[in-house]
Amino acid sequence: MKKQIKFYSGNIAAAEGALVAGCRFFAGYPITPSSEIAEHMALRLPQVGGVFIQMEDELASMAAILGASWGGAKSMTATSGPGFSLMQENIGLGAMTETPCVVINVQRAGPSTGMPTLVGQADVMQARWGSHGDYEIIALSPFSPQECFDLTIKAFNLAEEYRVPVIVLMDESVGHMFEKVVIPPKDKIKIVERKKPTVPPEKYMPYKAEDFVPEMACAGEGYNVHVTGLTHDEKGYPQATDPEVQDRLVRRLCDKIRKNEKKLRDIEEYEMDDAEIAIVSFGISARSSKAAVRFARQHGYKVGLIRLKTIWPFPDEYFEKLADEIKKFVVVEINYGQIKLEVERNVGREKTHLLPKMGGEIHKPEEIYRKIKEVYNGN
């Protein structure tokens, strides 16, 4: 099969990426500005033998995709801020039960119902910390329709590999803008499937892992399947009063992501070779940032761009190393300082600057350029 060239919005590209990745179950509840994803999945899933369900709300949507995953399907939901809030409880259940699934959040301006039709990037911390208890999550942030396609495939692959809900943190701008999307031939796209048990059913330990991630038997495959949100041992039995079991479990849930941060790291560096100042950005904000860097370079400013494609886990080590080389970091994001906190944690307060935007619009390259000049000149 040859590569195909399409003209897609980010939302449609994400839905098509999900299908290519093998998604065959979608449960969701429509919400602006993510609804086109559900709409497109409702059209496309029946064509490929999949199932689409419009649920009664987002709590149920999230529950349904966890169930589908345990039934053996690759599953997904898509929402925006208010719906993402409602999903948090079951995202935690997904983390605890190590259920591969993908949640797309097309961010709009919040808090609460905020500005339904307009852009925001303020759910970054919520994606990381939205559910209670200690857990780690993976979150990816595309900055173009092409990346909505690519990173949604990647999200499914990582969900399968690490057995964790993976969040695709899109935003309204990226979701609604149309651009060329190249769809590679099928045999050029890497697809990952969850590890299946290799031992006979009587020897299967559903939560015992050699390398952090246990093999996953699904319902109906002849193995005992235990799924509980309670603290559980390697057999999957609840051990809700044993701190040692809790210690082992929580360490593993977190370490399977933390200890693989380097592998999960996905950063685009632009003009960073001799940069003295680094813009740090992601999603749609990184496009304005790139324009500003291009312009600033023409005017002799030694500035580069660090674009985070993987937001969580945060690349601590990467920033720690850069702290000596780079004089100032300017974080450009459509919120009042979230990724800024992560950068600050690694490079120090005095080196970190923020160019926030409260939502409803994206940064203009000119404002970023002005900030670059200001920081460059030490103001």
Binding site: F7, T117, F178, E179, K180, R287, S288, I362, K364
Partner: protein, 179 residues
């Protein structure tokens, strides 16, 4: 070079589709970079509608239209709303039956797109007449590319009608250019 184009009119005229077709033609059939962003809000048929296209040979970073080089309007409301942001040396393209100009406009190209569409038997193809005119006047997109993009956007039984509409507009656009 980066070119910003804004299409404006009222909901139901196919304004959003115009932007989509234009950008798709440029991106897929002319091999340039193009971004299309529909105006997005609580909008309805009869209300104001607009869509935006950025076309460039280079990578397009900032995706939105701030000061269009070309403004194509098919309603008085859209003209009043968007004319102030048109670049000083920008080109204004209007449906001359639907837009009454204030004095002192710069470069203007006019066509009675809706009237032509009515003569063709379907008012609904006015946007395609206008797209043809836009293509002829600006030469930003090849005729071949816009034709492909139009024809793949319409149901098979309306292909002939749309092709005729596109060609009529295009020929007038070429004439305008020659004048």
């Amino acid at each position: 070079m980066r070119m910003e184009i804004k299409f404006g009119g009222f909901g139901g005229q196919g304004i959003i589709l115009m932007g989509n077709i234009t950008a798709r033609a440029a991106a897929i059939y002319d091999g340039k970079n193009a971004v299309f962003t529909p105006s997005y809000g609580p909008e309805a048929r009869g209300g104001a509608a607009s869509s935006n296209v950025v076309i460039s040979e280079e990578e397009i970073d900032y995706p939105y239209v701030t000061n269009p080089d070309i403004l194509v309007v098919m309603s008085q409301g859209a003209y009043e709303k968007f004319a102030p942001i048109l670049k000083d040396d920008g080109l204004l393209i209007i449906d001359e039956d639907l837009v009454k100009l204030r004095n002192g406009e710069g470069k203007v190209a006019k066509i009675p797109a809706t009237r032509i569409a009515e003569e063709l038997g379907k008012r609904i193809v006015a946007n395609i007449v206008m797209l043809g005119f836009f293509t002829g006047v600006t030469k930003l997109i090849s005729y071949d590319a816009i034709k492909k993009a139009v024809l793949e956007s319409v149901p098979a039984r309306f292909r002939e009608l749309n092709e005729e509409a596109l060609e009529k507009g295009y020929r007038q656009g070429i004439e305008w250019q020659e004048e």
